[in-house]
C-alpha cells in the first residue's frame, strides 16, 4: 500500500497527481473464503479491516451489492458521540470513541475527525433532569460530560436563541467536548483501503441472493456472480437486514424506516460545534465545506425508498429556525434519505443466530455512524473467536425473549 504523507503529496504534485495508486483492488471472487462479510458500508468494512489486522483472519471477502459506502455511511449527518445512558451502550460507544481518536493515524487516512463537541439541549424541566441523570451516568462510566445552564450554552454558541422569547426556551444542555464529527466517505474509503492492503477482497456490484445452509450450519452465499463458500458469514446490511434475514429463514425485531438529512448552500464559518435538540426535533452542524448539515426524524412508516417525506423536512427546518433565527433565509441545497433498521429498544443487535456460523450486526437504527470503529472491532473479534466479544454480548438477539432490553430511548430519543 502506498502510504499517504505530506512528502508523498509534494512528490505526486510533480506528476500532476496522475500516478496515485488505486485505493483498493477490484478482484474476481474466489470460490471460498474463511469469512464473508455481507455489506460494504462502514461497519462491514471496519469488521473486515479489524479481522485482518487484529485477529489474523485475512482470507476475507466483503460483498456489496452497490458501491462502497453508498448506503447509510454516505447518508448520515456524521455526528460522533458516546454519551449514552446505560452501561452496556455507553461501553460500546465509548470503545468506538477511543478508536475514533486514533483512527486517522491507524488507517493512514484522514477521516477528518473533529472533536468540536456536541450539545444536547434541554427545553423543559424534565429534559434537564434527564440530562443531569445521563451526564452523571456518563461520568461514572468514565465518559466526559458537563451539564450547562442557558448562559453556558450561549457562551459556546452565540448565534443560538437562548432568550426567554423563544417558543421553547433553552434551559441548558449536556456538553460532551470529546464528541464531534468525521468525514463519512473517508471512513468507508479508509477502512476499505486498509482492509484491501491486508488481503481482504472487496467485491462490489455483487449481490447476495441467498444463503447456503445445511443441517443448521452456514456453508456460504449465493450471489449474482456465483456461489461463494464460507463457514463464517457476518451480515452487516443495516436497513436491508430484515430482507437478508428472511433469505436465511430468520425473523428480526427490526423495522426499516427512511431517515433523511439535508444540507444548505455553503456559508462562511458560523457554527463550530454540534447542536442537537430532542424537544424541538432537529440537529445541526457545519461541515468544513461550509454547508449546514441538518438532520431530521424518521418517517413513521416502513420504507426502503431512500427518500424522506416533505412533512419531515418542514418540521425539521421549523426546529432549526426556532433555535437559530439567523438561519431563516439560508437556502437548502440537497435532501436525501437513508434506510435505518430500528430496534424496539433503540440499541443494535450484534448476535449469533440459530444458524451456526451466521452472525448479524444490525439494528443500529438512526445512530450507527458514530459506532463504526467499535462495532467493526467487537464484531471482528466475535467472528474470529466464534464467541461474542464481552462488549457485544449484551446486544444478543436473545434479549427480545429474555426481556433484558437496553432501553436507550430516554437517553437518545430522536437525536442521534
Amino acid at each position: 500500500m502506498q502510504r499517504y504523507s505530506g512528502f508523498a503529496l509534494a512528490r505526486h504534485a510533480l506528476s500532476h497527481h496522475e500516478n496515485w495508486q488505486r485505493q483498493w483492488r477490484n478482484p474476481t471472487p474466489k470460490a471460498a473464503y474463511d469469512v464473508i462479510i455481507v455489506g460494504g458500508g462502514g461497519h462491514g468494512l471496519a469488521t473486515a479491516y479489524y479481522l485482518a489486522k487484529e485477529f489474523g483472519v485475512r482470507n476475507v471477502a466483503v460483498i456489496e451489492k452497490g458501491w462502497l459506502g453508498g448506503g447509510n455511511t454516505a447518508r448520515n449527518t456524521t455526528i460522533v458521540r458516546s454519551n449514552y445512558l446505560w452501561d452496556e451502550a455507553a461501553a460500546l460507544y465509548e470503545h468506538s470513541m477511543k478508536l475514533w481518536e486514533g483512527l486517522s493515524r491507524d488507517l493512514n487516512y484522514n477521516v477528518m475527525f473533529s472533536q468540536r463537541g456536541v450539545l444536547n439541549l434541554g427545553h423543559t424541566l424534565q429534559d434537564m433532569r434527564d440530562i443531569q441523570r445521563r451526564v452523571n451516568a456518563n461520568r461514572l462510566n468514565g465518559i466526559d460530560g458537563e451539564v450547562l445552564n442557558a448562559r453556558g450554552v450561549q457562551e459556546i454558541v452565540p448565534i443560538l436563541d437562548c432568550s426567554k422569547n423563544a417558543r421553547y426556551p433553552v434551559m441548558g444542555a449536556s456538553w460532551q467536548p470529546r464528541a464531534g464529527v468525521a468525514r463519512h466517505d473517508a471512513v468507508a474509503w479508509g477502512y476499505a483501503r486498509g482492509a484491501d492492503a491486508l488481503g481482504v477482497d472487496i467485491l462490489q456490484q455483487t449481490e447476495v441472493t441467498g444463503f447456503k445452509i445445511r443441517d443448521g450450519r452456514i456453508l456460504g452465499v449465493h450471489t449474482n456472480r456465483g456461489d461463494i463458500e464460507a463457514r463464517t458469514v457476518g451480515c452487516v446490511t443495516a436497513g436491508n437486514s430484515g430482507v437478508m434475514a428472511s433469505l436465511a429463514g430468520l425473523r428480526l425485531p427490526l423495522e426499516s424506516h427512511p431517515l433523511q438529512a439535508l444540507v444548505s448552500e455553503p456559508l462562511k464559518p458560523v457554527l463550530d460545534t454540534v447542536v442537537m435538540s430532542n424537544h424541538v426535533h432537529g440537529y445541526i452542524s457545519q461541515s468544513d465545506k461550509g454547508d449546514l448539515v441538518i438532520g431530521a426524524g424518521i418517517d413513521g412508516y416502513n420504507g426502503y425508498g431512500q427518500r424522506g417525506s416533505y412533512a419531515t423536512v418542514e418540521h425539521t427546518l421549523q426546529a432549526i429556525v426556532e433555535m437559530f433565527p439567523i438561519f431563516s433565509r439560508v437556502r437548502m441545497n440537497r435532501q436525501w434519505g437513508g434506510i435505518v433498521d430500528t430496534c424496539p429498544d433503540a440499541c443494535p443487535i450484534l448476535s449469533k443466530t440459530r444458524i451456526e456460523g451466521l452472525y448479524f450486526n444490525c439494528g443500529w437504527g438512526t445512530g450507527g455512524f458514530k459506532a463504526t470503529p467499535g462495532s467493526g472491532h467487537v464484531f471482528a473479534a466475535s467472528l474470529a473467536k466464534g464467541e461474542m466479544h464481552p462488549l457485544a454480548a449484551p446486544f444478543s438477539i436473545d434479549r427480545f425473549h429474555s426481556g433484558a432490553l437496553i432501553d436507550e430511548h430516554g437517553a437518545a430519543g430522536v437525536a442521534h
Binding site: G242, L252, D341
Partner: protein
Amino acid sequence: MFHIHCPYCDEWREEEEFHPRGQAHIARPEDPAGCSDEQWGDYLFFRDNPRGIHHELWVHAVGCRKFFNVTRHTQSYEILETYRIGERPRFTRDNPDGVVASAPESLDDSDIATAAQEVRA
C-alpha cells in the same frame, strides 16, 4: 406526501392527518400468561419487514380518530388499498395484483379493534 383514503370518513385526506402504527393483523395471544418467553417476545417485538407489499395499521389522528389498515408497497410507497378493521386485504404478497377470486370474508381482527377502542378511550 401520501394522499390517504380513510375508509371510515370515506374521504381522501393528506398524510399529515394520519399516523402510521406499525404492522397490521398482529393478534394478541389468547392467553398471555400461558405464553412461553419465545412466543411473548415474538408477539411484542418481531415484525415482518418486507421490501414489497406490507399491511399496516394507521390511525386518522386528527380526523375521525379511527384505526384502519393500509396495504402499501414499501419501495414504491404506492398505497394499493385501505380497508376497515376486521376486513381482509385484497392485495397480498401472494396476490400482488389484487385478483378477486371469491367474495371477501371476514378476518378475526377483534383484538386490533379492541386495541383501537382502548386507545380512543
